[in-house]
Amino acid sequence: MKKPARNLTLFLLLAPAFLWLGLLIVLPHVEILILSLSERVAPRVYAFGFGNYLEFFTEPLYWRTFARTAGISILVTVLTLVLAFPIALYIARVAQGRLKAILLLLCLLPFWVSELVRTLGWMMILRETGVISYVLLATGLTEQRVEFLYNDGAVILGLVYGGLLFMIVPLANALESLEPAVVEAGYDLGGSRWTVLRRIVIPHAMPGIVAGSIIVFMLTVGNFATPVLLGGKNGLWFTEQIYAQFITRFNWPQGAAFGMLLLLLSSATVWLGLRLTGQNLGTTLRQA
């Protein structure tokens, strides 16, 4: 092909990608950055300034909700890791052939179902008129109905449940490549079950642990439906503040500032996680 023709082909091939990334990713984010830096100085009059960010730091509800979201998300990530690890280890190292495939498939199934359906299930189990409360009353363990919904425990439960798959898959992938001989050697050298786990298995699973934790944290921080529905008024999740500013109060500059802060929290965590373990984004996401 002649050079101009080749350039034209390349241009045509690149056009959709540029339209996609330009119109749907880059420019919209430039827009909320600009929006977040515009302060309202009079009704319908806006000027450049950091007022929206200042408002975040001076209004306790805002920064507390932010800190709470980050804190609970870290807790959820750790809990998910601890709960998922024995399962991933079982799938990767113990289960063989058919059983292995079935166990992995059973893990995947609930996550093809909408988040709303899963949350509905937990609401039906936990609420005052729900399954647990009914069973407790029917068996005489309690005198009256008990409300398990609308508290932090319910929110954490729902978020951990939602994160499990994204932890199990990368963990199982990482553990899959562990040589049985290395584990045997650990035992032969007199290591206990615990020592082998701590000195051989966990270090080997590190790429999976990092990948899973990053993804679970990201999904948890950005979640909306689970904390709002399971936490009710006590949910207090930062995404809810963004929604409130944008849709309910129509204060877009404030909402944009909150959005930038959430984006910052999420990407800082991803970056830190990758930095600490010297991995790159592409391979990490591909593991999931």
Partner: protein, 278 residues
């Protein structure tokens, strides 16, 4: 390590029970003859699927316009999203695997980026940008551009912003495995570029194209975070469910959930089948 303790086995069993408990509860209570989606069990009924509302005062899913409209809206979004994701994803995969140009690694990096942006942030940024665009263009053209305002077209764009990444990755992975000597052979035998593409390359890619389309369909149907920010008066299914769940719904929501589970399970198995043919 290969001999699991009893405690470990019990834990694995309990874990899977935990995993399926909420889904089973949702499914079972779709058939409960009660006005509320909660125990006790009042007997078996199909009212919440096909009932006209005579028995419980509220109609079943397949008769209730709220649910039928939201399912239709979900299709109005999911089908364009899936088609566009496959077409644009194929071009992108071509760029990643075949083209050589400066800045390719940066572009490849950019294509992955949408996956690490929270869905809510994608939603508000697209909402804000397209509102500004609409304001500017409307002043200039002196016409109404409603498709740039919150509504189903904007939901399509919002979902595409990250579903395109997934579609691109699925198709690029398949293209990487393609043996280019097959194309060379076809060229040597005198085939034109278009013919090689139509008879050799695209047939090879087709499992990935179908797979990417199905995944796009699933993700579009389930997306909540981005959709919530961009939705207008016509609510797709997850948004309608959210509204009903906040108000305290009838067991019709269980019925719609069960239908969704079955449809999703079917589509997911279809995807598993197509991705196995390697």
């Amino acid at each position: 390590m290969n001999r699991p303790t009893l405690a470990w086995k019990l834990y694995v069993g309990a874990f899977y029970a935990f995993l399926f408990a909420p889904l089973l509860i949702v499914a079972i209570f779709a058939f409960n003859a009660s006005q509320f989606p909660s125990p006790p069990w009042q007997g078996f009924t199909l009212e919440w699927f096909i009932g006209t509302g005579v028995v419980f005062g509220k109609p079943g899913v397949l008769v209730d316009p709220i649910w039928l409209d939201s399912i239709a809206n979900s299709f109005k979004v999911a089908i364009p999203v899936a088609l566009l994701a496959v077409i644009i994803g194929t071009v992108n995969a071509w760029v990643l695997e075949r083209a050589e140009f400066r800045g390719k690694t940066v572009l490849a990096m950019m294509m992955i980026l949408p996956l690490v942006i929270p869905g809510v942030v994608l939603g508000i940024s697209i909402l804000a940008f397209f509102s500004r665009l609409a304001n500017g263009l409307e002043d200039w053209l002196q016409t109404d551009l409603d498709f740039l305002r919150p509504g189903l077209p904007l939901v399509v764009l919002g979902q595409l912003s990250f579903i395109l990444t997934i579609a691109t990755l699925i198709i690029a992975a398949r293209l990487r495995k393609f043996d280019r000597s097959l194309e060379e052979a076809a060229f040597d035998l005198g085939a034109s570029r278009a013919r090689v593409l139509r008879t050799i390359t695209l047939p090879f890619l087709s499992p990935a194209l179908v797979g990417a389309g199905l995944v796009a369909l699933l993700m579009s149907f389930e997306n909540f975070n981005t959709t919530l920010m961009l939705v207008g008066s016509e609510a797709p299914l997850p948004i309608a469910m959210y509204g009903q769940m906040r108000e305290g719904a009838s067991p019709a929501i269980n019925a719609v959930s069960l239908m969704l589970m079955l449809a999703m399970g079917g589509t997911a198995s279809l995807f598993a089948l197509t991705s196995k043919q390697r």
